[in-house]
């Protein structure tokens, strides 16, 4: 067991932190979470600005092989995520950089890699994910949107939903039913498509707090070049599973909570209630301390996931456990913070809102991590079935 960073890693970590700290100075006050990035124009502009900044340093290609202009290794990627999380800096496209790029590197043809990786590394093209459908959520394999091959094109018809940032994205990746006759799991194909293609209609879905980070996407005879395929035709399920394996360590979210806790502690130290600072209240002390312990545990597990990833020994179980841990911690932090804020816990960003209304926002946004990318209940199934070897439901 050795948790020490090498001297080189320490230097790079410092550079990540310094750069993010610098970028933080220009962060719009309205930027409270990734959800606001997708929604508000000034936040989206800032996201693109950060992406260009990171691209310039080669940090959007961390962990890629050198032949695709990659830089650093998986550990650098984790250290970078730490720094971005701590300062809550966007600029890394969750879909393009974090999900699609590693998938392309493993599963795509050389031609596809050469075409799609460089714009991701340059921070020029932003992506969205086209997976869920109204009747295919956790049971994604029962999807029904079709992509029927005709000549050198696929023609897509149907509907996708819960597409985060689809209204902002330049390109989308998704799975579509290409062989309606074949059995489940062998009937779909993983395709890449330009979101400006005629026939695509994007409708934002109002989120429970009235914001709009999600969309539904309608396909009406959308023509996609047949060459835009990743993996084998009809075998898109394998690509889906591969992509799911690039589940993040959660380091970004965890470090964001570390910072959130620091700021919240400072708030409690200076805010008086009953004639004394909130920090003197033994119940608040105990609850915040518990949260700090849980955060430390979540980070320890994230390091474990990172350590495994770094050695290409990814364990589905650990990734699932990590996702459950950090997402439910976010949920608890939101509940705890809004509890402690009392009546102010319900105030949206405004002159009345403590900490810029962050926790009122988080009271809604925490569902993004517990439900998306495989609900936590699905993650528990993964641990039970694949990890503990318990019988699967049929």
């Amino acid at each position: 067991m050795d948790l020490a960073l090498t001297d080189e890693q320490k230097i790079r970590k410092q550079e990540f932190y310094d750069t993010c700290k610098e970028l933080e100075k220009k962060k719009p006050a309205s930027l409270l979470s990734m959800e606001t990035v997708f929604e508000l124009d000034d936040c989206w502009e800032y996201h693109l600005h950060c992406a260009r900044e990171f691209a310039r340093k080669g940090w959007l290609a961390l962990g890629w092989p050198p032949e695709y202009d990659g830089k650093g290794d998986m550990m650098d990627k984790v250290l970078f995520a730490e720094a971005r999380g701590y300062y809550d800096i966007p600029g890394v496209d969750i879909f393009g950089v974090q999900m699609l790029a590693p998938t392309l590197l493993q599963a795509a043809s050389e031609e596809i890699k050469r075409e799609f990786l460089p714009p991701i590394a340059r921070g020029e093209v932003m992506w969205c994910e086209l997976w869920s459908e109204p009747n295919a959520g956790s049971d994604l394999a029962s999807l029904s949107t079709t992509a029927i091959k005709k000549g050198d094109e696929y023609i897509i018809n149907g509907q996708k939903t819960w597409n985060t940032a689809a209204h902002r994205a330049d390109w989308g990746f998704g799975v579509f039913k290409t062989d309606p006759e074949a059995r489940k799991h062998h009937n779909m194909t993983f395709l890449l498509l330009d979101m400006k293609t005629p026939g695509i209609t994007i409708r934002p879905i109002p989120y429970l707090d009235g914001h709009t980070p999600y969309c539904e996407v309608y396909f009406d005879d959308v023509h996609v070049p047949a060459k835009n395929i990743v993996g084998q035709e009809h075998e898109g399920w394998a690509v889906v599973n591969l992509l799911a394996g690039f589940e993040r360590s959660g380091m970004n979210e965890i470090m964001s909570m570390f910072r959130g806790l620091e700021d919240f502690v400072a708030f409690c130290n200076k805010t008086k209630r009953h004639g004394q600072p909130l920090s003197k209240d033994p119940v608040i002390r105990n609850r915040l301390a518990q949260l700090a312990c849980d955060l430390q545990a979540a980070r320890a597990l994230a390091y474990r996931v990172a350590d495994l990833q770094n050695r290409n020994e990814m364990s589905l179980m650990d990734a699932a456990a990590g996702k459950i841990t950090f997402s439910e911690l976010g949920e608890r932090f939101a509940f705890l913070a809004t509890d402690i804020l009392g009546p102010y816990g319900q105030v949206k960003a405004s002159r009345w809102a403590p900490l810029n209304g962050l926790w009122e926002k988080m009271f809604h946004d925490h569902f993004v991590t517990t439900i998306s990318m495989g609900t936590n209940e699905i993650q528990r199934n993964i641990i039970a079935w694949y990890g503990l070897g318990l019988p699967r439901i049929r």
Partner: protein, 377 residues
């Protein structure tokens, strides 16, 4: 960064698992819990041959010279299996002598500890049952070249079989509770010492030790006169991490036994492990085991490397206390009625989860330390 065990640690782990499986089956654990001594001198002797008591004692004093991290590996295995007896209390006492003892004390005691000839324990708690210096009232008064100790210590692990009791006394009423604390190595056969075993949840032989005019030579002071509290803090820190490792091992057993049983036990025509209500609970138990694991490994690494880790220790102890109690509770619940029987093995773990929680500071005690360390004024 590499979170795997080293090769040495893998060997140590395997050796410990094999040894404990053979030498300390649950039938023996059950017998020892009911016995007066609470340990098996035969097993103790074999453990000494394996070098366990001397694991962290430097080689120059007859020990193995292993690191603190290596000790964690051993304790995790012990926690998995359960090993009643004075190993933990002896190791805790050893921390004090290795880190703060005089050269003379080290030369005299450490080789004998390593040989398994001496059993140690540390007497800290008193009637208030608190882990900070404010609870220490047992007085040590100078008398010529000696000191005289008066007071009652409680929850002293295995004191009834210990050769030496390290007694934490108050030698001065200072400006703060931490000032005026002095540690003495006391021969347990010294006249004036009366020891009674307390009946406890884990039957782990916690004792009341009464010191009545007990004379101790001045040379038996560990560390500095009146300034012993930082040494006690060091012992509490290492002890808390060590206890976390033991608890981690115990959580592993709770998870493994529960998962195995749920695959065997058939109700409604299928193994109960096929029901999602139980699967998700077991997934949570497994997750808590993994978070506990890397939390403990991280702080053990810090302590081993000499990196200050008071905050991280309290975080780990507060977290693992709850994780162990929860895992043990769910192990009983998912086994159902069978695990509420004293003839089942799971209750060993359930009962010990409470003892482990209390040892070296309970959850709320550690959370308050964390509250301070994260900057709450």
């Amino acid at each position: 960064m590499d979170l795997r065990y080293t090769e040495t640690q893998e060997i140590l782990k395997k050796m410990a698992r094999d040894f404990l499986t053979t030498e300390c089956p649950k039938a023996l654990v059950r017998k020892l819990e009911q016995s007066e001594e609470g340990y098996s001198p035969e097993v103790w002797k074999k453990m000494a041959e394996l070098g366990w008591m001397g694991l962290i004692i430097p080689e120059e004093y007859g020990g193995m010279g292993y690191t603190f991290q290596d000790l964690i590996v051993l304790l995790e295995e012990i926690g998995r299996n359960i090993l009643p007896g004075p190993l933990f209390s002896t190791i805790t006492g050893t921390f004090l002598i290795v880190e703060a003892g005089t050269e003379e004390q080290k030369k005299e005691l450490l080789p004998r500890i390593a040989q398994g000839e001496l059993i140690l324990t540390t007497a800290l708690l008193e009637s208030e049952g608190v882990f900070d210096a404010s609870g220490i009232t047992a007085k040590a008064t100078p008398k010529g070249d000696d000191f005289v100790i008066d007071g009652t210590k409680l929850f002293v692990e295995m004191a009834h079989v210990a050769n030496h009791i390290i007694c934490i006394t108050r030698t001065k009423v200072g400006t703060s509770p931490e000032k005026g604390i002095t540690l003495f190595i006391v021969d347990s056969k010294t006249p004036g010492i009366i020891c009674d075993v307390m009946p406890t949840t884990a039957a782990d032989k916690l004792c009341e030790v009464r010191f009545n005019n007990v004379t101790v030579p001045k040379k038996n002071i560990i560390g500095r006169m009146d300034e012993g509290w930082p040494v006690v803090e060091m012992m509490l820190r290492k002890g808390a991490i060590a206890k976390c490792a033991e608890s981690l091992g115990a959580i592993e057993t709770c998870v493994e036994m529960t998962v195995a049983y749920s695959k065997e036990r058939v109700q409604y025509g299928r193994p109960i492990g096929a029901f999602q209500a139980l699967q998700h609970k077991m997934a949570d138990m497994w997750t808590a085991m993994e978070t506990s694991r890397y939390l403990v490994y991280e702080v053990a690494w810090m302590e081993s490397e000499g990196i200050p880790c008071a905050k991280e220790t309290s975080m780990a102890k507060a977290y693992v206390n709850e994780a162990y109690k929860d895992a043990a509770k769910w192990a009983v619940r998912l086994h159902g009625g069978i695990a509420t029987s004293d003839e089942h093995d799971i209750p060993f773990y359930y009962r010990r989860s409470k003892a482990a929680d209390i040892a070296f500071g309970g959850t709320d005690f550690h959370r308050e330390i964390v509250a301070q360390k994260i900057g709450l004024v």
